[in-house]
Symmetry: C2
Subunit: 220 residues, 2 copies
DNA sequence: CTCGTTATTTTGATTAGTCAAAATAAATCT
DNA sequence: AGATTTATTTTGACTAATCAAAATAACGAG
């Protein structure tokens, strides 16, 4: 069994690797896991020795097929737990990330399968993040964001990628939840601002950085 | 925060101490936790240093008020999780103990409170074990067992204390579940056998050891 | 009361995961 | 190309939890 620590490293490498097999830098990994860089190097070497990761010294790390399999399992657990906490226990979507962070290492496949069935085999979690299948398939569709998508076209929010409670509170307060229909009414890259108008609701202005965390698809 | 290991030691000391404040021997504790005796000694000294336990060298260990508080919290989490797994996820009562053993260290109070409310604030788990209240009150009523209770009187099973899957399978197979009405039809201590007859069902013979794990109350 | 059995404690080592700080390699900027 | 900045790796040390095996204390039998 992979320890919680190993699971966290693998999950984080998966999340940080833009494309599949793309190298993740030690610095980025260390920051994401809140450890000093030397610790990340040490752990990555251990992961490589166990066949879970490939370490290209001085350049970065990528997952092996086996490491990716484990990481997808962790991600599936995390996202199904988040969905359960929101859908069944009616918890706030802004707080479930931290809860799932703990539970994802303690839940068994038997319990997870029941949860999955209870929830009706959801495809995404409450943030719109895709849930890997039991077979390890992860929907990797690329979406536009409020920072990059078309202006003055009907759009629909499909996903909010930033997981911090503060950001999610902001999104919730302005009605920027997955499923919301809206359009971008203005974008000023110089000022770093994006203005959007919900189909139902008043206009909202947000930073380009924040807008980049909100993924959208063309929507009626 | 107490580590999982610390939580397990405290919980086990609580479960093994017959009466409140009663000393638990190192041997019993080490066996229950599946560690060598020296390890238990070392950990107990650490618990004592943290003010969670009182160590009387060569004689045993007991919980402090604070240690007991923590232990009751762990027990509450364990038993509520078991109840959830059986009542909501419809899992088999024979397998939920092992699951809860992991989850009890990962679940937060926020999630636990929701679970408790969803389940309607149950007083006991599926095995009939009492669930400590959020305030740390544990029902410590003493019951007779099939090995010690009256013969030829109407009884009702209130609790099955042994948690191993094998024992629970046996109990389930013979319909010896909490709530079952029955009476003891025979008891032969020399042979170590007890025979019971369910109000609805055929007679069952079990060892005195097994009978001692099944707690009963007078029942119509 | 002494001896031997049994339980407990001590000692010395090991593993996983971590940090601080020094050493090194790569990248960047004249 | 050479010097400086930046990222990464290495080294040495630490903590929590564990085991094996030796040392010690309590207890019961004679």
């Amino acid at each position: 069994m992979a320890s919680s620590t190993v699971e966290n490293y693998l999950k984080q490498i998966l999340l940080l690797s833009a494309a599949d097999g793309e190298l993740v830098s030690m610095g980025a990994l260390a920051t994401a896991l809140a450890v000093v860089p030397g610790t990340a190097t040490t752990m990555v070497k251990a992961l490589a020795a166990e066949g879970l990761a490939l370490h290209r010294p001085r350049y970065g790390v990528a997952l092996t097929a086996e490491g990716r399999r484990v990481a997808l399992g962790v991600l599936r657990r995390h996202r199904l737990i988040e969905t359960f906490l929101v859908e069944v226990l009616k918890m706030d979507w802004t707080e479930v990330h931290a809860e799932a962070e703990q539970l994802e290492h303690a839940i068994s496949d038997a319990v997870l399968d029941r949860l999955d069935a209870l929830l009706g085999h959801p495809a995404t979690d409450p943030h719109g993040d895709p849930i890997p299948t039991r077979q390890g398939k992860l929907d990797s569709q690329v979406y536009a964001t409020l920072a990059t998508g078309p202006v003055e076209r009907p759009l629909r929010i499909v996903r909010v990628t930033e997981q911090s409670a503060e950001f999610l509170h902001f999104a919730e307060a302005h009605g920027l939840l997955p499923g919301t229909a809206l359009r971008v009414t203005g974008r000023n890259l110089a000022a770093g601002l994006v203005t959007v108008k919900k189909t139902a609701g008043r206009p909202v202005t947000l930073s380009v950085a924040a807008a980049g965390q909100i993924l959208v698809a063309p929507g009626k």
